[in-house]
Symmetry: C2
Subunit: 197 residues, 2 copies
């Protein structure tokens, strides 16, 4: 027996409350604790509201924000994979795909498809919107690290080359934001927040 | 001396990280702690992505989501005012207006104005978008209360009439969501999560 459409929608909304229990490697600037993925999703979606003028190609700002609102929901099942964890990154896609099937599958079919497509667009990193969303998603932890004196970088012994390699794709989304990112990476090295090599 | 536009924008983005330190009266469903306003802002903006078909009047879904992303930022200075706190509600507007001036004022002037207008539109509760955003913002704590066995209602000794009075404006944003809200209010009374009177 199928359940009413609104019940399916509310079940999804209740389920995604769990994103508040997924903790990231980034530290909040204002509190001495890790950031969770719900907080991050809000922060980066709001960032898109402010910084879209720097997108490399013309973007549909609403689509960028929709992508960012849903881009981490799969972490409810798949967990947050630290971007410098090379083994975790290998099977990340498979774990996240299963998570998407289950969690987006709570929604009515049309909406499940829509949200799944937004998430897959993000992962494919091909559209102007997904490249710009990806740029914001990578810039944000740089800001968090810089404004917490490199807390997460220092904890994991990350150096400048690793940060540059990992974040170079910001450039595909925005040359201007990549230039800004490089400026704070260099300031972080100068201040001793990030190892030079 | 004026600072570069991008620095003003980043200063705002760094500042609003503080919304993670503003705690609401609602409890998370999945964790035994109060929800903060950053988590809430993400959750309710994503809710707008799913439930916009129920808006009473036709709405610009993107505008609803923009309103919801920024609607609580003033709480960084003004704090969260519990909706059943009648004294706090009286000077809430004045405290929040000062907060908006300071926090949105970190942005370049054009963006400061845009975000201030989104927030004022929300507070005025006149446009179809603000009425629908308001409906979602009120429905969400009902869901949180219901799915935590009435935790916040019981803590504050709230009864059914108070919940009905406080949330009746959901109806202006969406008759369908108000019907849904009434159904869970009645189930909450039946289950003993909410006092009947």
């Amino acid at each position: 027996m199928s359940i009413p459409r609104i019940e399916e929608q509310i079940n999804f909304i209740i389920e995604i409350d769990k994103l508040t229990s997924v903790f990231r490697q980034s530290y909040l600037i204002n509190e001495d604790r890790s950031e969770n993925s719900a907080e991050h999703s809000w922060h980066v979606a709001t960032m898109a509201l402010i910084l879209s003028e720097y997108a490399e190609e013309e973007v549909d700002q609403f689509r960028v924000i929709k992508i960012l609102l849903v881009h981490d929901i799969v972490e409810i099942d798949a967990g947050d994979t630290f971007c410098y964890d090379e083994i975790g990154v290998q099977n990340q896609m498979e774990r996240e795909k299963r998570a998407g099937d289950r969690i987006f599958g709570l929604l009515p079919e049309d909406q499940a498809r829509e949200i799944f497509e937004l998430w897959q667009e993000y992962e494919a990193h091909e559209s102007p919107e997904s490249k710009f969303a990806g740029a914001l998603d990578r810039l944000m932890p740089l800001l968090h690290n810089y404004h917490t004196n490199g807390k997460s970088w220092r904890k994991h012994g990350i150096n400048r080359d690793q940060v540059i390699t990992r974040n170079a794709s910001i450039r595909e989304g925005s040359e201007a934001l990549w230039a800004y990112a490089l400026s704070i990476i260099d300031k972080a090295v100068a201040k001793g927040y990030l190892a030079a090599s």
